[in-house]
Each structure stands twice: as C-alpha cells, then as structure tokens.
C-alpha cells in the first residue's frame, strides 16, 4: 500500500512539475529579475544588455529628483484611486446587496443589470465613459434638463487640485494618516471593551504622533524646493467609471454572504425586536467580515490594474490622472528607460504586497487547519 502511495505521490509531483517550474520562473524569477534591474542603469533592450549595478539610485531619483515630480503625483493619485474605489464599490455594493436581500420579483434581472459592467473590459467601459464625460458628451448636458446652463466641468483634464500638501512633509503627512487609521481601530476597541486593544492602539498612535511632530522635523529635507501634491479632480470621472464597473462585483460577494447567514439568525433577530437597520448594522455586517476582507484585497488589486481604464479614458500623457502603471509603461516602452521602469514596477508591487501578503498568509493558515 505504501509503495503504491509513494508511486502516486511521484506521479503527482511529476504532473505538477511543469506548472511549478513555469510559475517559479515567470512569477518568482521575473520578480527577482525586475528587482535586480531596478538597481542598475539599464537603458535600451539589446542582444547584450548593459546593466551596471547602481544600488538604490533609481529609487532615490523617483522620490527626490525634480525630473520625477510627476511620478510622486502618480503615487498620491494611487492612494486616492485605491481608497475611493474601495470605499465606493464596497459601500454601493453592500447597499445593493441589502436591497436585494429580500424576496422580490425578478431578482435575477436586477442582479444581471448591476453586474453586467463587470463583464466588460476596461477599454470598452473607458471608451464609453470617455464619451459620457467629454465636453460635448452626456453628463454635462444633464443641467440643461432643469433649465440650467450646460455643465462646464472638464472631467478628464481639470487642473483643480484639493487637499494639497507639501512633498517635503510627506513622512509627516503619512504618519498622521496612519495614526488616524489607528484611531478608527481604537474606537472599535473601545466599543468592544477590548482593554488590551485599547492600550496597544494608544501606544501606536502616540508613537506615530511623536515621530510626526518631534522626530520628522529633525530630518533634512529630501527636496530643496516646496512641491505640492494632492487630490486631482480630473480623477473623479475615472473613479465614477471604476465604481460603476465594479460595485456589482462587491454586490455579488455581499449578497452571497447575506444569503449564507442562516434564515434563523434573521428570524431570531426579528423576534428580539431588532428592526432591519439594527439587523444589518449589528448582526449582518459584522458577520460579513471575511467577505469584506476578500473584497478589499480583490478591489485593491483591481485598482492597481487601472492602467487600462486610465489609458482608455485619459490617454498616457495626461499629467493629472496619472498612475505609476501608466508612467511605468511610457518610461519603459516609449522612453526605453528600463531600469527606471523596473523601479516603478517594484514600488507598485510593494504597494500591492501590503494587501496580498497578509491575505495569503491568513488563507493559507485556514486551509492547513
């Protein structure tokens, strides 16, 4: 019996081997290769590439040189794209799911309508939304229905920027933002009377604030001049399109989750006198936490794929709607600065890894159990 099993294990390994080798090379090998290239001065593809190791100079240039000012705005855009796309799709998706979570006629039709945008490519939806948001397109015509003048907002090329901050203070701004995040955790810890959690969160917040206001000012400025970055209003249209396209996905995830909560939970909540609002707020949403977690990972991943959508809606040379993925494309394939393009890719990858790695570790642990 055991000899048979070891033979079968051998078969299994042999069959998996091609996949394992391909993934090892194309995923892990290539990631390593890109990381290495990002630390060289590689310019231009040739039969015998010239790559001299120059350490972290490319990264230094991306974060501090005047030439790469646009990349820093792209990074700021990425944060806003990710946060707003996450918030937009999850909130709209959850609301739609709650609306559908009852016996209604023709439920399938509603679901189909909410979800169909997701089957389209970003190029198709971007092409259509570009028309809707064009100066002569549909959205700017809406005010005329109410007897007003047509809208004049330049959806994709607006130069307006709000919430601007000076890049010289970027570390300070970041630590205050992270501190705010922990304030949210602190509030939830207080609400659930988790003493250990309260203590931990207070320590983290205090440390971040000490860093932001006492230690950070001691650092020499990375940039010699003031440089303002913020939320570009030109990205609003792209965020609309993205939310339109992916809120149905969040709806499908949440609806599956709501249906998975057993009917008896809902019944007993009703018997206890909980109205619908209380049921969803106190019982359903906390129970959907694992789904929210997957949805955050999936949506964060999609927001990093916005290359296609931005390309279709704004093109590659729009300085207001930029994203590191778009600049990585132009830097690499148009300007042939392969090393710099690699460095941008690595930064994008690290950003994604913040979401992926905790998720992967968590789901691996669950599978092994």
């Amino acid at each position: 019996m055991s000899r048979k099993n070891s033979k079968e294990t051998l078969y299994s390994v042999l069959i998996l081997l091609p996949s394992i080798i391909l993934v090892a090379i194309f995923v892990y090998g290539f990631i390593g290769n890109t990381i290495y290239s990002s630390m060289t001065d590689w310019k231009g593809m040739s039969a015998t590439p010239v790559k001299n190791f120059i350490g972290l100079d490319n990264y230094k240039s991306l974060f501090t040189s005047f030439m790469n000012k646009g990349f820093r705005q792209d990074l700021v855009n990425t944060v806003f794209y990710t946060v707003f796309l996450l918030a937009g799709t999850l909130i709209v998706g959850l609301l739609l799911a709650i609306l559908l979570d009852r016996p209604i006629k023709h439920e399938g039709i509603y679901r189909t309508i909410f979800l169909y945008p997701m089957s389209l490519s970003f190029i198709v939806s971007g092409t259509v939304w570009r028309w809707l948001l064009a100066p002569s397109g549909g959205l700017n015509a809406i005010p005329t229905w109410f007897g007003k003048n047509q809208g004049t907002f330049q959806w994709i090329s607006s130069k307006k920027q709000i919430w601007s901050f000076n890049w010289q203070n970027v570390l300070q701004v970041l630590s205050v933002l992270v501190a705010l995040l922990f304030v949210v955790f602190l509030i939830s810890a207080i609400a659930s009377q988790d003493k250990k959690g309260i203590k931990k969160n207070i320590i983290v917040i205090a440390a971040l604030l000490v860093f932001a206001f006492l230690i950070e000012p001691l650092f020499p400025a990375g940039l010699s001049d003031e440089e303002m970055h913020g939320f570009n209003l030109a990205t609003l249209g792209i965020l609309f399109a993205g939310t339109w396209q992916y809120s149905g996905y969040a709806m499908a995830l949440y609806l599956a989750g709501l249906r998975g909560l057993s009917g008896s939970i809902k019944e007993s909540a009703k018997l206890d006198g909980a109205n619908e609002f209380v049921y969803y707020w106190k019982i359903a949403i906390p129970n959907l936490k694992p789904i929210t977690m997957s949805a955050v990972v999936i949506m964060a991943h999609i927001s990093l794929k916005m290359f296609d959508l931005i390309y279709a809606m704004a093109g590659t040379d729009n300085e207001f709607t930029g994203h590191p993925s778009v600049r990585m494309y132009t830097t690499t394939f148009r300007a042939n600065k392969l090393a710099l393009g690699s460095a941008m890719a690595v930064i994008l990858f690290l950003f994604a890894a913040m979401f992926i790695i905790p998720y992967m570790v968590h789901s691996h642990k669950e599978r092994v159990q």
Binding site: E8, Y116, P117, F122, S136, Y311, P324, L338
Partner: protein, 276 residues
C-alpha cells in the same frame, strides 16, 4: 389594520421605484453608447446627446467592423486557444491539489496562488525580454503568458470544485482497481463539466478583455481587439459614433456569455473569494 397594509404598500412602491432608478443609472452608459453608435457623425452634439437619433444609420458600425475585423480574428484565436489550454492545465493540477495531497502540497499551492495577485507590471519587462529572445513576440507569446499567469486561478477554481466531490467516490473506484490516471479520466473528468464551463467562461472573459500584455507584447498584425478598440477610439478628434459602435462590437462576445451563462460567470467570480 387597513392603514398598516396601506403603508406596507407605499413602502413596496417606493422600494420598486428606487430599484428601477438604480437600474437606469447602471444602464445609462450602455444606452448612450447604443444611441450614439446609430448617429451620423455630424448629428452628434451636446444638446441632443441623450436623444435617440431621428435618422438612425449603421455607418458607424460599417466603419468599426472594417477597422476591427483583423483584431477580432486575432482575439478569437488568442482567447480560444488560451482558454482551452488553461482549462486542461487547471483540471489536472486541481485534481492533484484536492485529491492527491502530498507533504508540502499546501505550501506549493499557496506559493502558486501568489502569482494571481501580483500587479503584472512587476513581471512585464522580463516577460517582454524573454518572449523576444525566444522569438515568440506576437500571438504565441501572448497565449503562453495567459496560460502561465492563468495557472494560479484555474488551479484554484478546479481545486475548489474537486473539494466538493466526496472522497468515497474515489475510494470505490480504487476498490474496483482503477489506477491513478483512470480515476481522473473515467471518474473525475465526467463530473467536471460544470467546472470546465465556469473556468472556460472565466478565462475567456479575462483573455478577451486583457489589455496591458496585449499592447506591450504584440505588434500591428497580432494586436487583439482591446488594442484595436483603443486605437479606434483614441486620439483627439474622435468619431464618437465609430468608437461607440466599436465598443459595442468588442463587448458582444463577453456580454453574450454573461447574459446566457451568467450563473456560471457569477460562480467563477465568487469561487475565488467566498468559497475559500
């Protein structure tokens, strides 16, 4: 009693009005694309943007089809070959990860899944370089990329499906003397038709809609439809009727799949997250 049933009725009506309004908002882009695609270029202006054309014309579709035909052909070749190969790779991998676990197979599976979540920019330059060196620029290279980077998701989908097949079926096969491979071909594969549908739909939509590799790895003669559409609709002076017609044409294959096989499409969507 009468008043509560009345208020329930009002509630009911408000609910359906809200639902229909939301549906209309989701359908607006589709409606606008459709009416604009039927207009002559000269008839497109802001004031009548929302109105159905007075003289519908198919000229936009004619232009779009002439320009997009070669790209459509490329996309069909690419998508069908990529989908078929991926599905079989996924089936056999899933069989092993679900029914023939060995020491360390969970770790291998997790390490494989990692490839699903990376932003593809991180592998783009070496991928481009490697395919160029292998003389595989063009459709073949693109198919290879889709198959290789599809391994994680298809493996996971099949594994999830096979996890639901009770082991007792396999055991009874073993007792009847079926070997490792006959269990797969005679017992597992016939049960896998629904999973092949789900995986097939998933990969078909992914590959059909993909743009980043398409634009980086292919050239003029081998560009798929997403690149074709972006060229038709790009630039400054856009013929909106042509580009809307083009958008609709490129969306038709995936929309058909979605409308007629929506159930399986949603299963694929959910399998990756909820069932895990």
């Amino acid at each position: 009693m009468a008043s509560t049933s009345k208020s329930r009725k009002t509630k009911h009506i408000i609910y359906y009005v809200v639902m229909i309004l939301i549906c209309m908002m989701y359908l607006v882009p589709m409606y606008m694309a459709f009416i604009t695609s039927l207009k002559a270029r000269a008839d497109i202006n802001l004031l009548t943007a929302w109105k159905f054309p007075t003289h519908p014309t198919a000229i936009g579709y004619q232009h779009a089809i002439t320009k997009l035909a070669p790209y459509l052909r490329n996309s069909f070749v690419l998508t069908i070959s990529g989908t078929v190969i991926s599905a079989f790779v996924g089936a056999i991998n899933g069989y092993i990860f679900s029914k023939n676990k060995f020491k360390g197979s969970e770790l291998v599976f997790t390490l494989m899944l990692f490839g699903m979540f990376i932003p593809y920019q991180i592998i783009l330059i070496p991928l481009f370089d490697t395919l160029r060196r292998l003389n595989m620029a063009g459709l073949n290279g693109l198919i290879l990329a889709h198959v290789v980077y599809g391994i994680p998701i298809v493996t996971m989908l099949f594994r999830n499906f096979y996890d639901q097949i009770p082991n007792s079926i396999l055991e009874s096969g073993r007792i009847d003397g079926a070997s490792y491979f006959t269990i797969f071909t005679k017992l597992i594969l016939p049960l896998s038709v629904p999973s092949f549908v789900v995986v097939g739909i998933w990969q078909f939509t992914q590959i059909w809609n993909e743009f980043l590799w398409a634009i980086c790895l292919t050239s003029q003669e081998t560009n798929p439809i997403t690149v074709g559409l972006s060229q038709l609709a790009g630039g400054q002076a856009v013929a909106w009727n042509d580009s809307m017609a083009g958008a609709i044409i490129s969306a038709i294959p995936v929309l058909c799949i979605y409308i007629f096989l929506g159930k399986y499409f949603v299963q694929g969507l959910l399998a990756g997250s909820v069932k895990e």
